[in-house]
């Protein structure tokens, strides 16, 4: 049963009606509802197309955060073989908001690291809603350095509301951990490819996504601050999230124009949560193509390639 977002309410009504009709027909063999149901199906398909053909930035945020959207573990399970999780930062703990380990992508050994949000109450708590603590960044640094030593490309899957605003996280130096993780990304002599699969939340995303290539799913977002946070600071009004979402230019399409995102990966109609397998396959295809592309960059240039991407950013703004 799909969870509908607020703007999908008309869709829920139509799909609900079609479902009702079919249920009635199942109980009553003489009823011929097929024509009517088909008409409703067509109506809902058209509506889905028009709704998703032109999502506002705020609606994109909602889709990017959809609880049924495929998460890191779904991508790892479907796209990678021999996945061998590696745990711990060797200092304090293993952060379950960050998954990571050795795996094969199309048979090729890589290091895969990503945020996992969880998909029910229990797993969400276990994964801390995808918000890393310092240990998560330090685990990622450890895994990235290992990949670097053994010449394995690094793939990161980004999906986080941001760093965890906790007392212990501050005391154990989450600023430093994020800074060092970003630094580790920039020091790699192996290709680093990031895919923003849902939310790219501020510094918690940068620490993983300072990559040679940043891929974004069509309805994913990547932002300096959440629209809610921005609304309460700049508008001093928590109700202004839609305005803030629009002003922040946080969509994959805006980020592509600004040069932060290199490739947009199309999502199935109605968002990745309506066609998880299709979305995951599209990410796999894009990852393979990107890694193949980066193979053309000489090993001693891969770090400079990444550095150049970031130094060159901001030379142009959005078209007026």
């Amino acid at each position: 049963m799909t969870q509908y977002l607020d703007f999908e309410k008309p869709l829920a009504e139509i799909e609900g009606k079609a479902e009702e009709l079919r249920a009635m027909a199942r109980d009553n063999a003489e009823m011929d509802i097929e024509k009517e149901a088909a008409a409703l199906d067509k109506k809902s398909a058209d509506l889905l197309k028009s709704l998703y053909g032109n999502l506002t930035p705020w609606r994109k945020c909602q889709v990017a955060r959809h609880p049924e959207r495929p998460h890191c573990k779904d991508y790892i399970a479907a796209l990678f073989t021999d996945y061998t999780p590696l745990a711990g930062d060797r200092n304090f703990a293993d952060d379950h908001a960050i998954m990571g380990g050795l795996a094969r992508l199309d048979g090729r050994a890589v290091m895969v690291i990503g945020h996992e949000k969880g998909n029910d109450t229990k797993s969400r708590i276990e994964h801390n809603f995808g918000m890393a603590r310092p240990e998560g960044y330090r685990k990622a640094i450890r895994l990235m350095n290992m990949a670097n030593r053994f010449g394995l490309p690094v793939v990161t899957l980004v999906d986080t509301p941001g760093a965890y605003p906790g007392k212990g996280a501050e005391e154990r130096g989450q600023s430093e951990a994020i800074a060092r993780a970003t630094e580790a990304c920039l020091e790699l002599n192996v290709p680093l490819v990031s895919v923003v699969i849902g939310e790219g939340g501020s510094g918690g995303a940068v620490a993983f996504a300072t990559a040679n290539r940043v891929l974004m799913l069509e309805h994913s977002i990547y932002s300096v601050i959440s629209p809610e946070g921005c609304a309460s600071i700049l508008w001093k009004d928590a109700a202004k999230t839609q305005e803030a979402a629009a002003a922040l230019r946080l969509t994959a399409q805006n980020l592509k124009e600004l040069g932060v995102c290199d490739t947009i990966i199309a999502e199935p109609l109605g968002g990745a949560h309506r066609g998880a397998q299709t979305a995951i396959a599209a990410v796999g295809k894009a990852l393979t193509a990107t890694l193949k592309d980066l193979d053309k960059v000489a090993a001693d240039k891969i770090r400079l390639d990444r550095r150049k991407k970031y130094l060159d950013l901001g030379k142009k703004g959005l078209a007026a």
Binding site: A163, Y164, P165, G166, K167, A169, E170, E171, R172, G173, Q174, S175, E176, I178, A179, R180, T182, E183, C185, L186, E187, S202, G203, V206, A207, T210, Y222, S223, V224, I225, C230, I233, L234, W235, E243, A244, A247, L248, R249, L250, N254, L255, L258, V260, R307, Y310, L311, L313, G314, K315, K316, G317, L318, A320
Partner: protein, 310 residues
């Protein structure tokens, strides 16, 4: 000196508390309430002479206080594209920029300069909290990259004074992207074998602490400076408990192993000199040894490489 602090000032205070004092001549210490005469306060680098509270100091005053004889040369910062997102909240970003420029007389929230501290050549970058909360903009990123490039070119250490609420929201993702950009600047110094020293001043938070402000070879903070990633209010809301006294203050971070030192502003110049001269393998600075004005500084730079004989 003590008798002034303990006797004369309270007397003056009691005199002045009874009538209106012009803002520009007297400043009331927000911590202890002492009325401080502007010239005396400036001489003490805006540190309360009574309780030691560190008040804000402008980026330019910081540079003047830092460099020998107040002499420094500004490094030109490449101008980024203005308002890349055409951002507008209740106000247009371009108007906010205009206001901040008018208010501060500065181009943006970071100044870069070269000069000497106690005859030790350095490059300094100073973040200006009075310019849109010191927020990390593309200009700030460009300034840090320019500072690192200048330091590498001249073979000098970089001393950076941070002060910011975080990335500049009005530049959206491009503000955030200054985290990797400034980290690259730090890497340039590292690769050139040059010291990078961060002085964290009140307040340094958000994406700034999570990038260049936490990557120093030596991390120094001014007393009681607020330093952290997440805001205290957000943390309290998230964890549902009150935070301890002094949370996210310099001394708290020192206790938790996140800083090397907490140093009073009035001691900073001496301390920076001492540390830099050791890291740069230079002999100790000679006390009170400012160059006479007629000797050119390049000759001195060469001369000081040789050990100074007493």
């Amino acid at each position: 000196m003590n008798w002034i602090t303990n006797y004369v000032r309270p007397t003056i205070n009691s005199l002045f508390s009874r009538r209106e004092v012009p803002d520009n001549l007297w400043t009331k210490c927000p911590e202890c309430g002492t009325m401080l005469f502007h010239r005396e306060l400036a001489d003490n680098l805006n540190v309360c002479t009574n309780c030691g509270h560190h008040m804000p100091i402008t980026a330019r005053d910081r540079l003047t206080a830092l460099f020998d004889g107040g002499i420094y040369t500004e490094v030109k910062v490449p101008e980024p594209v203005t308002d890349p997102l055409q951002f507008r909240d209740q106000k247009k970003y371009t108007d906010r920029l205009k206001d901040a420029r008018k208010k501060t007389g500065e181009r943006d929230a970071m100044l870069v300069a070269t000069g000497e501290i106690t005859r030790t050549p350095i490059v300094a970058a100073v973040q200006d909290f009075s310019f849109m909360g010191g927020s990390m903009s593309m200009y700030v990123g460009n300034a840090i990259v320019a500072a690192a490039e200048e330091a590498v070119k001249l073979g000098r250490p970089l001393v950076l004074f941070s002060a910011a609420g975080g990335a500049r929201m009005q530049e959206g993702i491009l503000g955030l992207m200054q985290m990797p950009r400034t980290t690259i600047a730090v890497q340039m110094l590292k690769e050139a074998g040059l010291p990078y020293i961060v002085v964290l001043t009140h307040p340094t938070t958000g994406g700034v602490t999570a990038s260049y402000a936490m990557l120093g070879d030596v991390q120094i903070a001014e007393p009681n400076a607020l330093i952290g990633f997440a805001g205290a209010r957000v943390i309290e809301q998230t964890i549902g408990e009150k935070l301890p006294e002094g949370f996210q203050r310099a001394e708290y971070l020192l206790d938790h192993g996140m800083l090397d030192r907490v140093t009073k502003r009035t001691n900073l110049k001496d301390e920076l000199t001492t540390i830099i001269r050791m890291l740069m393998q230079l002999p100790p600075a000679v006390a009170g040894d400012l160059p006479p004005p007629h000797i050119d500084s390049h000759a001195l730079e060469g001369a000081e490489k040789a050990p100074v004989k007493p």
